[in-house]
Symmetry: C2
Subunit: 346 residues, 2 copies
């Protein structure tokens, strides 16, 4: 008997297909069920049979088929789907990293997809992930309307929305305390003695951006800041645009001595521009990001990875009680984190 014939009992099988329990059973001359018992952890099998089966399994490279196992009654998948805008963006990558880390602690795997800020694409992705019977879904919303998920949610399927709430759907969400954060930034600059303060923000159609601008306006009023010493710049969407906007600002308003950047990409552009200029300007970023301390700018203690972990955590809680109607809208509080000035400079 050559090794080749032993390679595969089920000789009709597609060579690409993985060996099955039936193959192992056939080779070792036992029933499928016995082979199954051995592979699972030898619940009452004679040593001799077990050895025989293990040897056969090894020979063909048998590997249990989780798909088939999970198809069985009631068994839950251990796949969680996550949809973000763009994996190449450090903020979303951090979000995914945090979620993946927490989920992997629970033995859950993450299937990741990018919606590219496209609501239609996102809808298709959600559909595809639901067809795959993922256990739950973590979504950074790109769409305008999530009412179509109402039925799934009602049935007990677990959704968690991150960074922004889902319009027209009652569901769990984790967002950052945008208002509190902006107020903290502003107060920090005031305490640092800044007199003329600017905020540079993203496209106003983005929920977080408009929230932050609104918060700034309110805080500005309550802090009794002189309107003439306050500058609101919005629709700045990339680091490059932030560079341009900052240069323009510093040129037109040389008295500006404090800038709030409403996200990480903007902060990178602002920070680098200010550092390269002769102006003395304090910069504070809403987002924490890897090179913030290198750029010597203060940030809120608001780590996307933490937000990602929190979203995973909330999903896990929801798993415990899928049909409970009380939806949590957790708001991640942020505090100020001031970078010491000793890590940079020759």
């Amino acid at each position: 008997m050559s090794v080749t014939t032993l390679d595969r009992a089920n000789s009709t099988a597609n060579p690409l297909a993985h060996p099955t329990l039936a193959d192992v059973a056939a080779i070792s001359g036992v029933s499928i069920k016995t082979a199954s018992r051995v592979m699972n952890g030898s619940e009452q099998v004679s040593q001799k049979t077990a050895d025989k089966v293990k040897k056969a399994a090894n020979l063909v490279g048998y590997r249990s088929n989780r798909i088939a196992r999970e198809l069985r009654v009631g068994s839950l998948s251990n796949l969680v789907g996550m949809i973000i805008s763009d994996l190449a963006n450090p903020f979303y990558a951090g979000l995914a990293a945090g979620a993946e880390e927490r989920l992997s602690e629970e033995g859950l795997d993450l299937i990741l997809a990018t919606a590219r800020d496209d609501g239609d694409r996102e809808k298709k992705l959600i559909e595809s992930l639901l067809e795959r019977r993922v256990r739950g879904l973590i979504i950074v919303p790109s769409g305008e309307d999530y009412s179509h998920l109402h039925q799934e949610r009602k049935r007990g399927f677990s959704f968690v929305f991150v960074d922004r709430p889902a319009p027209y759907l009652d569901s769990d969400s984790v967002t950052v305390d945008n208002r509190g954060g902006i107020t903290t930034c502003l107060d920090y600059l005031i305490e640092e003695g800044c007199k003329s303060i600017a905020i540079i923000a993203d496209t106003t159609s983005i929920w977080t951006a408009s929230e932050r601008i609104e918060a700034f306006k309110q805080a500005m009023l309550s802090r009794k800041l002189d309107k003439g010493n306050v500058h609101i710049i919005s629709n700045v969407h990339t680091s490059e645009e932030a560079v341009t906007a900052t240069r323009k600002l510093l040129k037109e308003r040389a008295d500006v001595d404090g800038i709030i950047a409403t996200n990480d990409l903007i902060a990178m552009g602002v920070g680098q521009t200010v550092n390269a200029s002769k102006h003395k300007v304090k910069v504070v970023s809403f987002d924490l990001f890897p090179t913030a301390n290198l750029l010597n700018i203060a940030t809120l203690d608001h780590d996307p990875q933490r937000l990602g972990r929190m979203s995973a955590e909330m999903l896990l809680r929801r798993f415990e009680n899928p049909t409970a109607r009380s939806f949590s809208t957790e708001i991640m509080k942020v505090s100020m984190k001031i970078n010491k000035d000793d890590s940079v400079g020759a």
Copy 2:
């Protein structure tokens, strides 16, 4: 008949379980097969029956179960597994972003896991993904020995290794032209008139780091550089360590006028430190990264996203001919990308 009873034909079902074809069939009073026909695209079904079935499907929120479908004979999964070290690292995130983008064009989904530079963890992850019957696997190797995958590879399972080749396994891989890249960096600095050149590199146990240091030594010799004007600093693993190393270098060797940073994290630290100092030093980074131009440093045109796309591309090619014995070891050529000095500065 109330709507509630219509909600679900199979009343004994777990409320968490998705409705099945059987549910739809029962409600609409047709056989399962007919319901299946309608859901797939009405291959020979009367309009009347089709409408009835569709209505029922809508009512219960039926959604085809891909798991069950893929269990069928020969049907291939459209899941691809990818294992990287750390999703929070922009280089790996870029790699994943590129792969995901290319795969999604082919309707393939990506399941992403992080090995955290831990060979044992990586091995378990590979095992888990194989159990899930992914279609193929893209891996940035953390391990020392991949011979255990020999049987899977021989059976025709598709692996692609990225950034570093897989030790002890004949398989496809995509790496960067480390030697050519370093030579390009060095020649760039020489052309820019640099006389005293340093290279700051990662931990030497990392394959790419040692490759790059070796390349530097060789290129240095062939360029007839004076040994006294060349500095090799290694085992620098983070941006912070790069800051420290750069400061020390500039302090001890004030004549240094050119620095090669062997990866993105190091480049961020070096770039920021140099910018903050009074020293005139040209910096060039092996990796391209989002804020390189803000830091005003030259880089190779070596985008992790491109590398990710290439790895996906190679996997797709391998799918076409799974058992072919010829393995491709594609080397991504890199050219110089010099940032104009007009994007930064007040």
